[in-house]
Amino acid sequence: MKRKKQSGERGVFPLPLSLKTRNWNFSRLQGRLAPYAFLSPALIVITLFFFIPLVMVFILSFTNLDMTNFGILEWWRPANWSLDNYVKIFTNRFFPKILGNTLIYVALTLAFFNVGMALIIALITTHISRGAGFAFRALWLLPRITPVVVYIMMWKALAGPAPMGIINNYLLGPLGIGRGEYLLNTSPWVFVILVNGFIGASFGMILFSSAIEAIPKEYSTASKVDGATTWQTIRYIVLPMIKWPLLFVTTYQTLSLLTSFEQIMLLTDGGPGLYQTEVWALTAYHRALTSYFGNTQWGYGSAWAVVLVVIGVIMAIIYLRVFKFGELVEEPKIDRL
C-alpha cells in the first residue's frame, strides 16, 4: 500500500524501474530547470532585441537595402550580398575625419570629465562637510536626469550669442574674450565635450565617492601622523585603494562614449561645418535612419554600425585582458542542499 505523502515531502516522478534505479526524481529535474525558468523572460527579450537584430544588421551590412528597394530586394539571399558597403566606407573622403573625431571625442571627454572630473568631485566632496558634499553630488547628478532635449536647450542658451547667451554675457564679455558670437559655431568641440562630460562625470563620481568613503580612516590618520601632505595621501593611499572602480569606470565609460551620439545629434548634428563634429555612431544613424541624403540607406548604415561594434568589442576585450577583469567574477553561493 502506498504511504501517504507527508506535507512538504517532494514527490517522486513515476518512471519505469530501470530508470528509477538511477535515482532520477522530479525534484532534481525541477531544480535543474529552475534557473532557466527564471532566465526565460530576459532570454526572450535579449533574443528578440539583441541577437536577432545583431544577426540582421550583420547581414544587412552586406546588402544595399534602402528605401528605394525595400520589399523588392531579397536581402536574405546570399546572391545579393557583397562587400560594396565596406569598400565605400573605407574609401569615403570623410572616413579619416570621422574616425579622428570619434577618437578625439572619446579620449578628451574620458580624460577631462568622465574620469578626471569625476575623481576631482569625489575627492573633494568626501573631504568637505557631509551636507555640502551631498549637495554637490546631487547637483552633478542633475545633467544625467534632465530630459536630453531640455538639457541641450539649456546648453544652447548658455552658448548663445551676446546679449542673450549666458557665457558670452557674464563670462567672456567682461573678460573681453571673443566677439559675442554663437559659441556653437566658433568652438563646437568645446561644447560637445562639455555637454557629454557633465553627464558622464556623475557615473564615476558616485562610484568613486562610495569607494573613497569605504577606505578605513586609520590609513589617513597614520599617514598624517607620518607627516604626509594631502597630495601625498591622495597619491599613495587613496588612489591605489580605488584601483578597481577606477579601471571599471574607465572601461565602461570608454565604451559608453564610443556609442553615444544623442547629445551630439541634438547639439550640433555633426555640424556646424561639413562633418566637423560628426562621430562614427552619428554617421551610422544619419545614413540609416534619416533621409538627409535623400534616401534612408539601411544597408550602408548597417555597415557603419557593424564596424563600430567591432571596434567596441575589440576595445572591450583589450580592457578585459589588460585590467584582468576575469578575477572579478565570483562563484555563486551554495545553490543546492
Binding site: 512538504g8 544588421v57 544587412l60 546631487a138 532635449v149 548658455l158 562610484l207 571599471f248 568589442v313 553561493k333
Partner: protein, 296 residues
C-alpha cells in the same frame, strides 16, 4: 580630513565650483525664461504667464494632441517599462546570483557586453522586428491604452526601452542579491518551498532598496527618452508622441524658435523628474552600491 594648503585648496575648489556654477546657471535660465517675454542672459525683460498657455490650449492647432495626452503617453510608457524591467531583472539576477547552471559565467559577461552595446547598431533592425510584431493579431495592435506592442505604439517603445535597460538592471539587482545572506533561503528551501516562492516571498521583500533604486532610475530614463521614441514612432506630435518629441517639435530649424515657450514646455517635463529626484536622492545614490571591489 581637511585640505590644509591654502593655494592648492583654492585651486581645487575653483575646479569644482566653476563647472557647478555652469549647471546652476543653466537651470536658472530655464526657470527665468519660461516666465518672461524675452530674456537677455539672465535678465528678464518682462514677466508673463503667456508661455504656459500650452497647458490649456494646443499651440499647433486643433489637429495636434494637447500636452496632457502626450503626458499620459509618457507616463504609461514609463510605468510599463519600469514594471517590466524590475520584474525581469530581479528574476534573472536571482538566478545569476544564487543558482549554478551551465553558461552562468558567459551570461554575466554577456550582460556587461550588452550594456556597452552601441544602440545605433540595433536601432535599424529593431525597426524591422517591431514591424513584424505589429502583424501579430492581438498584442501587435490592439492593446488598449498602450496601443499595442508594435511599431508606432507606446507599448513598442516601452518594450525597446526595456531591452536597452535590462543589462543594467540585471547588473544592479545582482549586486543587491549578492549581499543577502544565504540562511533565510536555506531554511525556506529545507521547509520545501519552491524556488519561485523563495524568490517572491523571501528575497524580494529584502531587496526593497534595490527595487526602489532601479525603479526610480528606470522611470526617469523612460520619462526623458528621446532617441528611441523618435526612431520608433511616426511623427513628432502624433498620437504616440512622448514629451521629448513634443518638445523637440517646438525647436524647429526653419522657423525662429520661440525660446520662451520652449523653455516652459521643457520645465514642464523637467519638474516631475526633479521633484521625484529630490525625494529619492538618498535611494538613487545607492544604486551602484552593491559591490565591494566594484565587481560582480
Amino acid at each position: 580630513m581637511r585640505l590644509p594648503q591654502k593655494p592648492r585648496a583654492a585651486l581645487a575648489y575653483l575646479v569644482l565650483i566653476v563647472p557647478s556654477a555652469l549647471i546652476v546657471l543653466g537651470f536658472l535660465w530655464l526657470f527665468i525664461t519660461s516666465f518672461s517675454t524675452r530674456t537677455e542672459g539672465l535678465r528678464s525683460l518682462g514677466w508673463t504667464l503667456r508661455n504656459w498657455s500650452f497647458l490649456w490650449e494646443s499651440p499647433f492647432g486643433p489637429q495636434y494632441p494637447s500636452i496632457w495626452w502626450v503626458t499620459l503617453n509618457t507616463l504609461v510608457m514609463s510605468l510599463v517599462m519600469t514594471l517590466i524591467v524590475v520584474v525581469v531583472s530581479s528574476m534573472t539576477a536571482y538566478a545569476l546570483s544564487r543558482m549554478k547552471f551551465t553558461g552562468r559565467k558567459s551570461f554575466l559577461s554577456l550582460t556587461l557586453i550588452l550594456h556597452a552595446f552601441p544602440s545605433v547598431t540595433l536601432l535599424i533592425p529593431i525597426y524591422f522586428v517591431l514591424i513584424w510584431v505589429s502583424k501579430i493579431p492581438v498584442i501587435g495592435r490592439g492593446v488598449p491604452l498602450l496601443g499595442g506592442l508594435g511599431y508606432n505604439t507606446i507599448g513598442g517603445v516601452a518594450l525597446v526601452m526595456v531591452a536597452f535597460q535590462l543589462p543594467f538592471g540585471i547588473w544592479v539587482m545582482k549586486g543587491f542579491f549578492d549581499n543577502i545572506s544565504w540562511d533565510m533561503e536555506r531554511s525556506a528551501l529545507i521547509d520545501g518551498a519552491s524556488r519561485f516562492r523563495v524568490w517572491w516571498q523571501i528575497m524580494m521583500p529584502n531587496i526593497k532598496p534595490g527595487i526602489a533604486a532601479l525603479s526610480i532610475f528606470s522611470f526617469i530614463t523612460a520619462w526623458n527618452a528621446y532617441l528611441i521614441p523618435l526612431t520608433f514612432t511616426a511623427g513628432r506630435a502624433g498620437k504616440s508622441a512622448v514629451l521629448s518629441l513634443y518638445l523637440q517639435n517646438f525647436i524647429s530649424e526653419s522657423v525662429m524658435t520661440e525660446w520662451n515657450a520652449v523653455a516652459a514646455v521643457g520645465l514642464f517635463q523637467l519638474i516631475p523628474v526633479v521633484i521625484f529626484f529630490l525625494f529619492t536622492q538618498q535611494v538613487l545614490l545607492n544604486i551602484y552600491g552593491g559591490g565591494k571591489k566594484g565587481g560582480v
